[in-house]
């Protein structure tokens, strides 16, 4: 970089510090290369992403995650033989994969929820999910509070919960509303319209509008959050978030099969007697938007929001409860002594 002029230039930073107090050195120092140094360290360490898939069985959760990361990561759960029990209790299944792309390592953990909304009486079928999320926060907190703790605590906290909505005309079912109410309080929830190849364009637009109205009506906070005053983001990012929010939820189709379109291209998609669907075609489904949103623009933000917002809220609650317990015990002990 060339030599810069001394301090008269107003500099805008994302950290929001006072512009006039920033000094710009007369000769080039070179501390701006810290970004590359950080990058090298982080690349060596790798990133962890934990994604939870929530939705009734048969909505294409496993297929979508395989399509998103372009590899066969998760096997669809289901009753493949008649000898399996009919009613499954909701369960948590975690599969881990380490993926590498251009020397960047991503530790991906997929948390599948077979049995969600599958029984005749689905009351509290969301409890195992909430318990899992809270348990991960708890585990992280304990490791953090440990007197001799590890250098880098393995992050198993759920960064993103993809909630699959069935492609109906009415939007959220009663079960969806209840489950979402609980989930949006503790984890970043990204709603997705599953199997949207069954919807006409008109039905899709109607469903999106219905869902957005329902989110507002039931006060469900979906990721990305509408924080006007979030000082971590630039104004472009805030505007981008607003655009994304108007497009939510994404209507997606997942497919691992490779087909040849009539034009002769080989793409991932589905072929039916009346047409072929190309998963990456934005006129047919919004898979590309979801993929870019999750992996290319908001991946780091998901991890950060989980850590700074949800985990902090959990931590505050736990530690104040702990302090109150200790205080109560101390006062009762002192009462017993006196």
């Amino acid at each position: 970089m060339a030599d810069t002029q001394p301090q008269t230039q107003p500099v805008r930073t994302t950290a929001g510090t006072d512009a006039t107090s920033l000094l710009q050195p007369t000769n080039y120092v070179g501390f701006d290369t810290i970004t590359t140094q950080i990058e090298n360290r982080m690349v060596k360490r790798g990133f962890t992403l934990n994604v939870m898939l929530v939705g009734a069985s048969g909505l294409g959760k496993s297929t979508l995650i395989n399509t998103l990361f372009s590899s066969h990561l998760d096997d669809s759960c289901g009753r493949n033989t008649v000898y399996e029990p009919i009613e499954r209790t909701p369960d948590i299944k975690v599969t881990s994969h380490d993926m590498i792309e251009n020397n960047v390592i991503l530790h991906l953990n997929i948390i599948d929820t077979p049995g969600f909304a599958d029984q005749i009486n689905n009351n509290h079928c969301w409890d195992p999910l909430l318990k899992y999320v809270k348990d991960q926060h708890n585990q992280y907190l304990r490791r953090e509070l440990n007197a001799s703790r590890e250098k880098f605590i393995k992050d198993t906290r759920v960064h993103c919960a993809l909630y699959f909505v069935a492609p109906n005309y009415y939007g959220l079912s009663r079960l969806d509303v209840q489950a979402l109410k609980k989930l949006t309080e503790v984890v970043n929830v990204v709603p997705v319209i599953a199997k949207s190849d069954t919807l006409t364009m008109e039905e899709r637009a109607n469903l999106k509008r219905t869902l957005q109205d329902q989110f507002k009506h039931y006060n469900l906070r979906m990721y990305p959050y509408n924080n006007q005053y979030d000082d971590r983001l630039t104004s472009e990012e805030i505007q981008f978030n607003k655009d994304i929010r108007s497009m939510l939820p994404f209507a997606v189709i997942g497919s691992e099969d490779v087909i040849t379109t009539p034009k002769g291209e080989t793409v991932r998609g589905r072929r039916t007697k009346w047409g072929t669907i190309n998963v990456e075609d934005v006129t047919q489904c919004e898979f590309v938007y979801l993929r870019d949103f999750l992996t290319r623009t908001h991946l780091y933000d998901l991890i950060e929001t989980t850590s700074l917002q949800h985990y902090e809220a959990f931590r505050t609650k736990q530690l104040t409860a702990l302090r109150e317990n200790v205080g109560a015990r101390n006062s009762s002990q002192s009462q017993n002594q006196s």
Binding site: L59, G78, R79, V82, I120, N168, D197, M201, T272, K273
Partner: protein, 283 residues
């Protein structure tokens, strides 16, 4: 009778079947708390004859978080219809033109998930198959590719056989079906996978009923695209009389035998009690 969860396409199916908007689209709202059973009627012209179709629609089935009593309500409805007919039969002076409200066929709409039947489906189908003709139908067939359709049908049949559910047997009217739809093996077609749509489009100078999807146009009337025309022919044409006969001869008789034997057992029990009371008082 048409049974299925909200959003499985029951109203669209009825409208497509009757060629008119019997149930106005977008009508079935989701705010009703409990499941309710609605009656609609329509007139269809099939093969030159006028058919009065009475449609019983279950709205709200399987929509609550707790669905343990949904099946019970359905069974209740079916048995009430049998009861009405039984009472009418036993009357000394019968009403002329008694309207037969017994359910001749129950179309059960299954979601096209590719995972077969859910516990609620199995519970309901078991209860229904003991009381009326059950025809399982996979709705929204436009979701499935050819292979998925085949796999799904096989899986559902396996589940049905494992649970011991009796479906309506189409083999009794095979000859009639052969006449109207040559070349279709009905035994392999159950459950039917249908696509319903009420829009119309001109393709190659023939007007078809279609469903316009972003990636293609599904011809509802085309047996290659959806099993809808086959189902329609079976329901309204070839198997219509057989459905009514089986309802009367098998299911209604079953109910009647059960009811009357229960009644006679009660009388015996009370008769015994009376005779034992008499003997005690005589002593």
């Amino acid at each position: 009778m048409i049974i299925g969860e909200t959003g499985t396409g029951k109203s669209t199916f009825i409208n497509t079947l009757c060629d008119e908007d019997v149930i106005p689209p977008g009508n079935t709202s989701f705010n009703g708390e409990a499941m309710c059973i609605e009656n609609h009627s329509a007139t269809i012209f099939e093969g030159g004859t006028k058919i009065n179709l009475d449609i019983v629609l279950t709205s709200g089935f399987g929509d609550s978080i707790d669905n343990t009593d949904s099946t019970a309500k359905l069974v209740d409805y079916l048995e009430t219809q049998f009861e009405l007919t039984l009472k009418e039969e036993c009357r000394i002076q019968r009403t002329p033109h008694f309207k037969d409200t017994r359910v001749h066929a129950a179309l059960y709409f299954i979601r096209p998930t590719g995972k077969g039947l859910r516990p609620l489906d199995i519970q309901c189908l078991k209860a229904l198959s003991a009381r009326c003709n059950v025809i399982p139908v996979i709705s929204k067939g436009d979701l499935l590719t050819e292979e998925e359709k085949k796999l799904n049908k096989e899986l559902i049949l396996k589940h049905i056989n494992a649970a011991g559910i009796e479906l309506y047997d189409f083999s009794s009217c095979f000859e009639d079906i052969e006449e109207e739809l040559p070349g279709f093996n009905l035994g392999q077609m159950v459950p039917f996978s249908i696509v319903s749509g009420t829009e119309r489009k001109l393709i190659e100078e023939i007007e078809y009923k279609v469903r316009k999807l972003p990636h293609g146009i599904v011809r509802v009337d085309d047996p290659a695209h959806s099993d809808f025309p086959i189902l329609r022919t079976c329901l309204l044409g070839a198997c219509q009389q057989d459905l009514k006969d089986t309802t009367h001869d098998i299911y209604y008789e079953r109910y009647r035998t059960k009811k009357l034997s229960e009644a006679s057992q009660k009388r015996e029990a009370s008769g015994l009690a009376k005779t034992s009371a008499k003997t005690i008082s005589a002593k």
